[in-house]
């Protein structure tokens, strides 16, 4: 009985901490900009792939180095995902502020592109893409110096786009013919890749006759570290202060001289970087594939919905609640309690699989929203648009 309870608590916290790690970045970005990033799952996937690459690199070094690769991988995953997030914000999302529904669609488009990107990225692909960017953006930058740029802009783009795309594709194809397979072979392909955890994360710590898996403990620790880091950043650093003020009142912050656009970009990059860290942690739990991110986005959205906007504690409680509820229903932990009544017992039996647990949890979320439509810890204010 005791080990059963321990098992329930531990697994609930463990699932919840993965959710929380994944939802943290999303919640911060949503709180600040009202933007739900559908490509968040794909940023996690990029983090996981970064971990895979770093792991392969450290395998060459071998020995003690391999045991420590995970720390380098976490940092690398943060940097890669943050960089992609920054490009995404500067390139797409900043044009769509104030239009949250369109942002949903645009970021979904980005997520499709990223999924296919990891499937088909190869040296050939990278060379072609780099060449295209060089030609197209180089030419537009040169032309932009001309005085009549505004007038010729649409024509210039209409001409430059096919020309640079044509040249890039042609050169990539020719190079593919010359260097053959090593050049054209995809780096990752469509198959799932396995990330090998360092040895010290593979075992478990025994408590009585129950074993706590180290990888899950590590993820719980990582989540706590990320939470503390984000908390300190938001509460103690000057940029954190600016982020909080823009979250509360954007126009007033802008009037007081806070560069809201820089704040947006910075927050989005940090949120994306956190997604990368979450993805890196996911690599420890299972294999990594182009669709890895998709499995998590809906759950993380639910964390944001239940938690409410603007407070970290909301996300924490919501993630833990959803994680625990998922586990308790999915593993039928309540079985001993309802054994007396056959109707209740068979009811819980029906929902006792991972996928059916989600059905039940969603029903509970809908019921919960009847009482607290703005989430657990709603932002207090007098706006009608809350």
């Amino acid at each position: 009985m005791l080990s059963g309870i321990l098992d329930g608590i531990f697994n609930g916290i463990s699932i919840g901490s993965v959710l929380l790690l994944a939802a943290l970045g999303l919640a911060i970005v949503f709180g600040l900009m009202g933007v739900i990033n559908m490509a968040h799952g794909e940023l996690m996937m990029l983090g996981a792939y970064t971990t895979f690459v770093v792991q392969n690199g450290f395998k060459q070094l071998g020995g003690v180095w391999f045991e420590l690769y995970i720390f380098v991988a976490l940092i690398a995953a943060f940097v890669v995902a943050a960089a992609v997030g920054l490009v995404l914000e500067r390139g797409v999302i900043r044009y769509l502020y104030g239009r949250p529904l369109e942002t949903l669609l645009a970021t979904w488009g980005v997520s499709l592109i990223l999924q296919q990107f990891v499937r088909s990225v190869s040296w050939q692909f990278v060379v072609g893409l780099g060449l295209f960017c060089l030609l197209y953006f180089g030419a537009t930058t040169l032309l932009a110096r001309r005085a009549n740029w505004q007038q010729i802009r649409s024509w210039a783009i209409a001409i430059l786009l096919p020309i640079s795309a044509g040249i890039a594709i042609a050169i990539a194809l020719v190079a593919g013919q010359m260097y053959k397979l090593p050049f054209t072979q995809p780096w990752f392909g469509a198959q799932n890749k396995d990330v090998t955890a360092p040895r010290w994360l593979r075992g478990g710590i025994p408590i009585g006759d129950y074993q706590l898996p180290s990888a899950r403990l590590f993820i719980i620790g990582l989540t706590i570290a990320c939470l503390i880091g984000i908390f300190l950043f938001l509460q103690k650093s000057p940029w954190g202060l600016r982020i909080r003020s823009v979250t509360q009142n954007r126009s007033m912050s802008a009037c007081l001289g806070i560069p809201t656009k820089t704040v947006d970009a910075l927050t989005f990059a940090i949120g994306s970087g956190l997604a990368g860290v979450a993805g890196s942690a996911l690599g420890l739990l299972g294999s990594v594939g182009p669709n890895t991110g998709q499995n998590y986005i809906v759950d993380t959205f639910m964390v944001v919905v239940v938690g409410g906007v603007g407070k970290l504690v909301g996300s924490i409680v919501a993630a833990m609640l959803i994680g625990t509820a998922n586990y308790v229903i999915g593993a039928n932990v309540l079985q001993p309690l309802v054994a007396g009544s056959p109707a209740l017992s068979s009811f819980f039996e029906f929902f006792a699989t991972a996928s059916m647990a989600k059905v039940m949890v969603f029903a509970l979320i809908i019921v919960f929203l009847q009482f607290k439509p703005a989430g657990l810890f709603p932002q207090k204010g007098r706006t009608i648009d809350a």
């Binding site: 502020y97 369109e102 919905v305 059916m356």
Partner: protein
């Protein structure tokens, strides 16, 4: 904005005329699609394309539903695949039961089920099935909509809740092998309807005709809903819901109604699509197909019923040609399509044609641009500058 004069008894005859012309055009197009296109395509040896057209027209009905709630009412549903699938499953269950009395569909034996589950029983009846195709999605949509809208949950929250509902049903259908054949879905093309095989060409031709007729009917319904007082209320909710509330209206009822109607249209679309494609699986309830419906509407033009139909047909034909020849490029193309439509062409093809397209045509023909304000304002460089640099900033904040 123009002030619309509410038509009184005398003015009605005047307003009827454009409506009659429109009805004539729609009828003419329907007749062409029904009777002229199939022989031409079959003559050219591309009868396959007609099958595709039938399916895509079925999907266009779902696009009309999305246009109704997104384009007119401003609620973005990312979960309409759910209603498409419910309609599809309803009809597929009826077709699965068209077997000699006392037997149960084959797949049940695989999972050791010997008795038909109770909720299958009503689907023996044809009238029940016909009602169920749109009534079940309407009911599910109505309940979900009521529970969400009455708490004033809207915007992005609403979108991701519909998506979560979708995934919940996906999990449910995927996991219940013993009830509904799980991942494998239900096949329809080998079943029979009124003694004829569903997959056979004559029956498919009937479904093609039915699709065209129902598409026209759906168009008429949406046209009727969006033109009168209800339509104005929907647009008001889209543009400023708090203000509607302050004016003394309760938007909840309107939103629930229009969401349910949209779900019902999606159900009909699902049933027609299922019988023409031959199978319905839970994959229809995955995240991607639902968002695709939204992008058809976005490409065609929001708040334009013609745009929804046009977008559904265009994007689907592009998909079937591109994804067959370059499967790898399709996802890139689709992603780029999402980005391009949202950033460059926010009002879609039809919206572009209505505004800039007409202007471009006029300037090509050497005609003068129509002037919306005072002529002196149009030539004022200061006004021009302000429009370019400050004009779109109202949304910021």
């Amino acid at each position: 904005m123009s002030i619309e004069i509410i038509p009184d008894g005398k003015g009605k005859g005047k307003n009827r005329k454009p409506l009659l012309i429109e009805a004539g055009i729609v009828a003419a197009i329907a007749v062409i699609v029904l009777f002229v296109l199939p022989p031409i395509f079959t003559g050219l040896g591309a009868g396959f394309q007609i099958g595709l057209l039938g399916r895509f027209m079925a999907l266009a009905i779902a696009a009309l539903g999305i246009d109704l709630i997104w384009g007119y009412t401003g609620m973005l549903s990312l979960g309409h695949g759910l209603f498409v699938a419910l309609g599809g499953y309803a009809l597929a269950m009826y077709l699965q039961l068209q077997i000699p009395a006392g037997q149960i569909p084959d797949f049940f034996q695989l999972y050791g089920v010997s008795e038909l589950p109770t909720f299958w029983q009503p689907f023996y009846s044809f009238p029940f099935t016909i009602v169920a195709i749109f009534a079940i999605p309407m009911l599910v949509g109505g309940i979900l909509g009521y529970l969400v809208f009455r708490n004033r949950i809207r915007g992005v929250y609403f979108s991701i809740l519909t998506q979560a509902a979708l995934i919940v049903f996906f999990n449910f259908f995927n996991g219940q092998q013993k009830l509904i054949n799980g991942t494998n879905g239900l096949k329809t093309d080998t079943t029979t309807i009124f003694g004829a095989q569903v997959g056979s060409p004559p029956v498919q031709a009937v479904f093609y005709g039915l699709t065209v007729i129902l598409l026209v009917a759906a168009y008429a319904l949406c046209r009727w809903l969006t033109s009168g007082r209800l339509g104005r209320m929907l647009v008001a909710i889209r543009d400023d819901e708090p203000r509607v509330r302050f004016s003394g209206y309760n938007p909840t009822g309107y939103k629930v109604l229009v969401f349910a109607v949209s779900a019902g249209l999606a159900g009909i679309a699902g049933a027609l699509y299922t019988v023409q494609s031959g199978i319905i699986t839970p994959a229809q309830m995955n995240i991607a197909p639902s968002i695709e419906i939204v992008i058809w509407v976005a490409v065609g033009g929001r708040a334009s019923l013609v745009g929804a139909i046009l977008g559904a047909l265009l994007v689907n034909f592009a998909k079937s040609t591109l994804s067959a020849q370059f499967p790898e490029v399709w996802l890139f193309f689709q992603g780029a399509l999402f980005l391009a439509v949202v950033t460059l062409l926010p009002s879609g093809i039809v919206g572009w044609l209505r505004t800039e397209g007409i202007q471009n045509l006029r300037s090509l023909l050497g005609l003068r641009q129509p002037v919306a304000t005072y002529p002196s304002l149009e030539t004022d460089p200061e006004v021009k500058y302000e429009r370019q640099s400050v004009g779109n900033r109202e949304s910021d904040g």
